[in-house]
């Protein structure tokens, strides 16, 4: 299909994503709700792609949920972030990779503030020095973890055991992508495809055999809204946003949803459960829910990782319909078993010996 206008411009735009030597920082939300995704990211990067990814044991929250919950002042958030950058500097890295979109948005915002207001950066440097004695350099390259997977999507496809294809019909799976508001809405040039034509997840889906659905509410917020979810009295807003998206995507008969954000997969997963409890309504085929995945979970499935090693048992909306469509071999009896100890070994044919 011929692309015209802004879409053509954005399709040619590629943000710069470093090739190796990453300083990795974790997501608070994902460590609690999708721990298997961060484990999968590191396994793919280190064991499949043989990249240098370093995690400092003393890194912390970026304070982003507190900042957007408006209890953490901007000066405090900037200095917490500066400390993270100091750890990167001390460890000898220059390429910063956060696992979290809220963090990615906050880092981007702060680097932009410092760029436009050098006096503010100087104040942050003084505050960090006073509080911790540390000094920092601004990262040379800031890429979200999904940007990195996007960059290596072809390498992952080359090692794929499964495709995003219905093995019974041979048809590509229909996939809804949700990139999360803070990935590119604030600073479109910092995201692959910008805010209007996001391609970071769509690029993975297409490379791995699936078909992306372009539906009316594709860019709509999942409904996290920080305080709109954190406080129980406000959660009507949160579920209403997700419901608007489900109603909009339903006519396109999606097989699955792939997500970018820390909160988005959780909300799109859990609110389906709540809507079914409240209204007896489901949005997938055959009166099922629509399985929701993180991009690492999808990459892991494509590479042949065990679904329960990826943590799919921690989803409320069952993921089995997608596993069955893709023809993935799995043992249903292992789903809730806790006595399986991860071997942290992956299939030898996945290991990229060439670049070791």
């Amino acid at each position: 299909m011929k692309q015209e206008g802004k879409k053509a411009i954005w399709s040619e735009y590629q943000k710069e994503i470093a090739n190796d030597k990453y300083f990795y920082v974790r997501s608070c939300i994902r460590q609690n709700f999708f721990p298997g995704s961060e484990v999968a990211f590191l396994r793919i990067m280190r064991e499949v792609l043989w990249k240098d990814v370093y995690e400092h044991p003393c890194h912390t929250t970026c304070s982003g949920i507190g900042y957007h919950g408006d209890v953490v002042p901007v000066d405090t958030a900037m200095t917490v972030v500066a400390r993270q950058f100091a750890l990167m500097t001390e460890a000898g890295y220059k390429n910063y990779v956060p696992s979290c979109i809220t963090s990615f948005g906050l880092y981007t915002e702060i680097i932009e503030i410092w760029h436009h207001f050098p006096d503010v950066e100087e104040r942050t440097r003084l505050q960090l020095k006073k509080a911790t004695g540390r000094e920092f350099e601004v990262p040379e390259n800031l890429a979200h973890a999904s940007d990195v997977i996007y960059k290596f999507r072809k390498e992952i496809a080359a090692k794929a055991k499964y495709k995003l294809v219905n093995k019974n019909t041979g048809e590509p799976l229909k996939v809804v992508d949700h990139i999360g508001c803070h990935y590119a809405k604030m600073f479109p040039s910092k995201g692959v495809g910008g805010a209007e034509y996001p391609y970071v997840l769509a690029g993975m889906v297409e490379e791995w055999g699936g078909e992306v659905i372009d539906y009316p509410e594709r860019r709509h917020c999942c409904g996290f809204g920080f305080r709109q979810y954190l406080v129980q009295a406000n959660r009507g807003f949160s579920v209403a946003c997700s419901k608007e998206k489900f109603e909009s995507m339903k006519p396109f008969k999606p097989d699955m949803i792939i997500t970018n954000c820390p909160g988005c997969p959780m909300f799109l997963d859990r609110w389906q459960y709540v809507i079914n409890e409240m209204e007896g309504k489901r949005y997938g085929k055959n009166n099922e829910g629509i399985p929701v995945f993180t991009y690492e979970e999808v990459a892991g499935l494509v590479l042949g990782f065990d679904p329960w090693d990826l943590g799919l048992q921690m989803h409320q909306t069952d993921c089995e319909p997608v596993l069955q469509k893709m023809g993935i071999e799995y043992d249903p009896d292992d789903k809730y078993r806790l006595d399986i100890r991860k071997s942290n070994q992956i299939s030898p044919d996945l290991v990229n010996v060439r670049t070791r």
Partner: protein, 235 residues
């Protein structure tokens, strides 16, 4: 009293977020919160740029500034490059610094966020922490979350995590020296002062409302602000 608009100008987000608004309303058209709540970011920005001190005080005491979800959809679309979401963040900061936030139902909720997210940052090093996300406070998390909570240590080990362990990894214990650094950052940059202001204004309000406000989250005032919705906020 210093003019509030002049105080707002000292917030870098306000300077970034508001040039001259021409009142086109695109921000309201794209805003998820405006779809749901009695909320109109265009009106808020217009009121603020009027620089009317009395009107700004009323705004800071109202529910209006607490409806935004800070998704920043408005920033993408504003033809003037404004960011009403950033203006809202500056207003929320000022409302808390002035103690006005306790005058609205939605504003009072800031204590709940401070006593959960805010405290977890300093006590654990995480914004969100497994031990605090109880099934009772999060029924929407469903039966799977009950299973997670009942088996969290074994499950985290099975997933390859490092729950409360030393060194790197998922939900590792953040070292005490690191937590000391975080607290010092909060002290030096005004984070602790913000927390103290939220606590002080909330204690005063709890007395006015004749509700008990003890430590932590198991008290009348916390439960009230966490759960109360008077039903007048939505369209």
């Amino acid at each position: 009293m210093e003019n509030l608009y002049d105080i707002l100008l000292r917030d870098v987000r306000f300077e970034e977020g508001l040039k001259a608004c021409m009142n086109c309303g695109v921000c309201t058209a794209i805003c998820p919160a405006a779809e749901f709540y009695n909320f109109d970011p265009r009106k808020i920005v217009d009121l603020v740029q009027s620089r009317d001190n009395d009107e700004i005080i009323e705004l800071l005491k109202s529910d209006s500034i607490w409806y935004c979800g800070e998704c920043m959809s408005c920033k993408t679309r504003c033809p003037r490059g404004n960011a009403p979401g950033l203006v809202i963040m500056a207003l929320r900061g000022l409302s808390q610094d002035m103690g006005y936030f306790v005058e609205s139902e939605k504003g009072r909720q800031q204590l709940a966020i401070k006593r959960t997210i805010g405290e977890w940052i300093l006590s654990t090093g995480y914004c969100v922490y497994l031990d605090g996300i109880s099934v009772a406070m999060h029924p929407e998390q469903g039966p799977v979350w009950e299973w997670v909570q009942d088996n969290k240590a074994e499950l985290l080990e099975r997933m390859g995590g490092n729950y409360k362990g030393d060194g790197p990894g998922i939900l590792r214990k953040i070292p005490d020296e690191t937590l000391d650094e975080l607290r010092k950052i909060f002290e030096v940059t005004g984070g602790l002062k913000r927390y103290e202001k939220i606590e002080a204004a909330s204690r005063k309000k709890a007395r006015e409302m004749d509700l008990d406000l003890g430590e932590g989250i198991d008290n009348e005032y916390f439960r009230h602000i966490y759960k109360t919705n008077n039903g007048t906020h939505t369209r």
